[in-house]
C-alpha cells in the first residue's frame, strides 16, 4: 500500500462527482457545489501525489493486482503529476468562471445544466490520459475527454456551434481511429500495449516497422496536439464554443496531445529517427500559426492561432531530445496551459463587457474597466515572452537548448522561435492598442452600447450604472433583460484573477519548477526509472 494506490482516485473522483451532478440536474445550486467540491478534492489529492513523487521518481500502481505486463497500469511520475496538478487547478478556475457566468445568466442557475457533469467527465478523461501506463488506456482516456468535449463544444446547439462541432467531431474521430490502428499494429508486432513493456520490445523490431508505427502514432497525436499540417481544425472550431469551454479546451486538450507526443518520443521511440522532421514541423507550426494570428480581427480566433503557434515551441523542445530541451518543454507546457486559459477567460470577460470579441468594434476598455486591462495585460505579456515572466524563461530555456544542439536546423528554429515570439508580441500589442488604449469612438465600427456608456458621454455615472444590465436597457436596447444580470460577475473576475496570479506565481517559483522539470526530463530520457517502476527492478536494463 503506497501513495500511488490513491492515484486512480484522480480519475474515479471526477466520475463519481459527474454521476452525482447528473442526479442533481434539477437542483443547480447543489450541482454547482458538488462539481466545485469534487475538483477541489481532486486537486488536493494531486498536489499530494506531486509532493510524494517530487523526490522519489515514478511510482506505478497495478490495478486489480494483475502482474505487470498483463493488467492495467497507472504510472505517476514527476511529469504526469505536475500536469495533473496544473490541469486540475485550471479546471477549478474555469469551473468557477463558468459557475459565475451561469449564475449571472439566469436566476435558475446554469444555462444548460448538463455542463457540470460533462465538465467533470472531461476532467476524468484528462486525468486518465495523464496517468495511463498502457497505450490502450491512453486511448480510452482520449476518448473520454473527446466525447465530453463534443458535448461541451456544441452546448446550446446554435448554428455556428453545430457547424464547427461537426468539423471538430469528424477530425477527432479520424485521429482516434488512426490511434486505434496504431495500437492494433503495435499489438500485432509486439503482443503488448503496456508502455513500459513496449519501451523494451519496440526496440527489438526492425527499423522499417518501427518507423511505420512511430509515424502512425505521431500523426494521430499530431492531430490532437494541432501540429502544423494537422492544425487546420483548431482555429475553426475553438472560437465558437462558450467562453469557459474554449478556455479549458485551449489550455488542456492540445496539451494532452503534446503529452502523448512527449511520451512517444522519450519512452517508446527514443532513437529519435524523426527528430529532424519534427524540427521542421515545429518551425512551420510556429511561423504559420502566428501568421494566421496576425490576419485575424477576432480576439478568440487570434488566440486560437497563437495557441497553434506556441505548440511549435513544445515540439521544438521534444525534437531536440536533450535534457535541457525536454525540461524547457515541460516548463513551457505548464506555463502555456495556465496563460492560454487565462487569456481566453479574459476574452470571455471582454466579450461580456464590450458585447463582441472583434477588435474592430471594441475600444476604450482601459478606462471603462481597468481591472480587465490589468487582467489582459499580464498574461498577454507573459505569452509574448517579455522578461521576467515565465513565458520568457521557458522560451529562453528552449533557445539555449537549441543553441546547445548546434545543428543548422536547430539554429533555424532558434531564429524562428524569436520571430514567432516577436509576432506574438505584435498581435498582443495590437489587441491592447485597439481594445484598451484607443477611445471607444476611434473604433472602426464601435459597439453601440460601448459608445453609449463611454465615460465622456455622461461621466462616471454611466460606468457605475453598467455593473448590471438592467440599467442600460432604456435607449440602447442591447442589454434589455428584465433580470438584473451583472455584466462582470464577481465570480468570473475572481477566478480569472486567480488564474492570472497562478501564472505570476509560476514566474516567482520558476526556479524550483525548472529544477523539477529538469529532473523529470532526465528521468524520462534515461527511461529505466519508469520501466523499473512498472515491471520491477532489473527489467529496464537495455
Amino acid at each position: 500500500m503506497n501513495i500511488a494506490s490513491f492515484a486512480p482516485l484522480a480519475v474515479v473522483l471526477p466520475f463519481l462527482g459527474a454521476a452525482v451532478a447528473f442526479v442533481l440536474i434539477k437542483r443547480p445550486k447543489a450541482q454547482r457545489r458538488v462539481s466545485l467540491g469534487t475538483i477541489t478534492v481532486t486537486l488536493g489529492l494531486e498536489v499530494w501525489l506531486l509532493a510524494s513523487v517530487w523526490t522519489t521518481g515514478p511510482i506505478a500502481v497495478h490495478l486489480g493486482g494483475w502482474a505487470p505486463p498483463f493488467g492495467i497500469v497507472m504510472v505517476v511520475d514527476q511529469f504526469s503529476s505536475l500536469l495533473l496538478v496544473i490541469s486540475s487547478a485550471v479546471c477549478l478556475a474555469v469551473l468557477a468562471y463558468a459557475t459565475g457566468q451561469g449564475a449571472a445568466d439566469s436566476e435558475e442557475g446554469g444555462p444548460v445544466s448538463v455542463f457540470h457533469p460533462t465538465f467533470l467527465i472531461l476532467v476524468a478523461g484528462v486525468s486518465n490520459a495523464f496517468l495511463a501506463g498502457d497505450l490502450f488506456n491512453l486511448y480510452v482516456g482520449f476518448e473520454i475527454l473527446l466525447t465530453a468535449s463534443y458535448v461541451l463544444m456544441t452546448l446550446g446547439g446554435t448554428g455556428s456551434r453545430i457547424r464547427a462541432g461537426i468539423t471538430y467531431v469528424v477530425v477527432s474521430v479520424v485521429s482516434s481511429l488512426l490511434f486505434l490502428i496504431a495500437i492494433a499494429m503495435i499489438y500485432g508486432a509486439t503482443g503488448t500495449v503496456t508502455l513500459a513493456d513496449l519501451a523494451i520490445k519496440l526496440g527489438e523490431l526492425d527499423p522499417g516497422t518501427q518507423g511505420l508505427l512511430h509515424v502512425l502514432l505521431l500523426v494521430a497525436f499530431g492531430i490532437k496536439a494541432a501540429v502544423f499540417p494537422l492544425s487546420f481544425w483548431l482555429p475553426d472550431s475553438y472560437p465558437t464554443a462558450p467562453a469557459p469551454v474554449t478556455a479549458v479546451f485551449a489550455g488542456l486538450l492540445t496539451k494532452v496531445g503534446v503529452y502523448a507526443i512527449i511520451r512517444t518520443e522519450t519512452l517508446l521511440f527514443p532513437s529519435g529517427q524523426f527528430n529532424s522532421v519534427l524540427l521542421v514541423v515545429a518551425l512551420l507550426t510556429m511561423i504559420v500559426g502566428i501568421l494566421g494570428a496576425v490576419a485575424q480581427t477576432d480576439i478568440k480566433r487570434m488566440l486560437s492561432f497563437t495557441l497553434v503557434s506556441h505548440i511549435g515551441y513544445m515540439i521544438f523542445g521534444v525534437a531536440l531530445s536533450s535534457v535541457l530541451g525536454l525540461a524547457a518543454t515541460i516548463f513551457y507546457v505548464i506555463h502555456h496551459i495556465t496563460i492560454q486559459t487565462s487569456l481566453f477567460m479574459v476574452t470571455g470577460l471582454i466579450e461580456r463587457r464590450g458585447g463582441t470579441s472583434s477588435i474592430t468594434r471594441l475600444g476604450g476598455l482601459a478606462k471603462l474597466s481597468p481591472i480587465l486591462a490589468v487582467l489582459y495585460f499580464i498574461p498577454a505579456m507573459n505569452l509574448a515572452g517579455i522578461p521576467p515572466f515565465s513565458g520568457f524563461l521557458g522560451k529562453l530555456g528552449l533557445l539555449q537548448a537549441g543553441v546547445a544542439d548546434g545543428s543548422p536546423l536547430a539554429y533555424a528554429l532558434v531564429v524562428g522561435g524569436v520571430v514567432a515570439s516577436l509576432l506574438t508580441l505584435l498581435v498582443m500589442a495590437r489587441v491592447w492598442n485597439r481594445v484598451f488604449w484607443r477611445s471607444t469612438a476611434d473604433a472602426e465600427d464601435p459597439d453601440p452600447v460601448l459608445l453609449a456608456t463611454a465615460p465622456d458621454a455622461s461621466g462616471a455615472q454611466s460606468m457605475r450604472a453598467l455593473r448590471t444590465s438592467k440599467h442600460v436597457d432604456a435607449t440602447e436596447g442591447r442589454f434589455s433583460g428584465d433580470n438584473e444580470v451583472p455584466i462582470l460577475p464577481k465570480m468570473m473576475v475572481y477566478s480569472t484573477m486567480g488564474l492570472v496570479l497562478l501564472g505570476v506565481a509560476m514566474t516567482v517559483f520558476a526556479g524550483p519548477l525548472f529544477e523539477l522539470s529538469q529532473e523529470a526530463a532526465a528521468g524520462m530520457l534515461e527511461r529505466t526509472p519508469y520501466i523499473e517502476a512498472v515491471l520491477g527492478s532489473g527489467a529496464g536494463a537495455p
Binding site: 490502450f136 446547439g157 464547427a164 469528424v170 474521430v173 499489438y187
Partner: protein, 192 residues
C-alpha cells in the same frame, strides 16, 4: 502469425469505401464513412489476435497455444462502444444541422471567408493618404472607401476616381514623402 485473407480483403474494401465517403460534403455520407472506418479498424484489431482458437477459459490439459487471444476482442468491444456513442452524437448533430439550415451539408465558416477576402495590407496612416486628407482640398479625392456588410464587418472598395472637378495637386507642394521611392504613386487616379 498467419492471417485470414477474407478478413483482410473486407477490411481493405471497408477502408476504401469509408475514406471515399468521408471526403463527401454531405453530412450523412461523412457519418457513414466514419462508421465504415471504425468497423474496418475493428477488423484490423481482430486480425492482430491471430488464428481463431479455443475460448480462453483455462483448462490445465490444453496447451496455451490453443487458446484464442482475448485481448484484441476486449479492445474491439471498447471500440464498438465508443463508436456507438460517437455515431449517436453525430446523428443528433446532423439532425440539429438539418433543423437549423435545412441542408445536409458541411457549412462554410463566414469569418474564415471574411479573413480570406481582406486586403493584403492595411494603408499606413502616414502613407499617401496624408496628402489626400489635408485641409487644402475638398474631399473630392478618391480615398479608399469602406462598405459595411452587416454582421461581417468591412470590405474595402478599390480606389475609384470620382467624377467631378479634379483638383490638380501641385507637384511643388510640400509632400511628406519623396516620390522617388514610390514610382507608382504618380499613377494614382486624380493626379492626372
Amino acid at each position: 502469425m498467419s492471417v485470414n485473407l477474407t478478413l483482410l480483403l473486407v477490411m481493405g474494401v471497408l477502408y476504401a469505401v469509408g475514406i471515399y465517403l468521408l471526403l463527401e460534403r454531405s453530412l450523412t455520407r461523412v457519418l457513414l464513412g466514419l462508421m465504415l472506418l471504425a468497423n474496418a479498424t475493428n477488423l484490423l484489431l481482430l486480425t492482430t489476435g491471430g488464428y481463431a482458437g479455443l475460448a480462453p477459459i483455462f483448462n490445465k490439459d490444453i496447451p496455451s497455444t490453443e487458446y484464442n487471444d482475448p485481448l484484441p476482442q476486449a479492445f474491439i468491444l471498447t471500440s464498438i462502444v465508443i463508436s456507438f456513442a460517437v455515431t449517436a452524437f453525430m446523428l443528433s448533430l446532423i439532425y440539429r444541422s438539418w433543423l437549423l439550415s435545412h441542408a445536409d451539408q458541411i457549412q462554410v465558416d463566414r469569418e474564415d471567408i471574411r479573413v480570406a477576402k481582406q486586403d493584403l495590407y492595411d494603408d499606413e496612416e502616414d502613407s499617401e493618404i496624408a496628402v489626400e486628407v489635408s485641409d487644402f482640398h475638398e474631399n473630392t479625392h478618391p480615398v479608399a472607401k469602406r462598405e459595411t456588410i452587416p454582421g461581417i464587418g468591412y470590405k474595402k472598395i478599390a480606389q475609384v476616381p470620382i467624377a467631378g472637378p479634379v483638383i490638380q495637386v501641385d507637384p511643388e507642394s510640400p509632400v511628406p514623402h519623396d516620390d522617388h521611392d514610390q514610382p507608382n504613386k504618380t499613377d494614382k487616379p486624380g493626379k492626372e
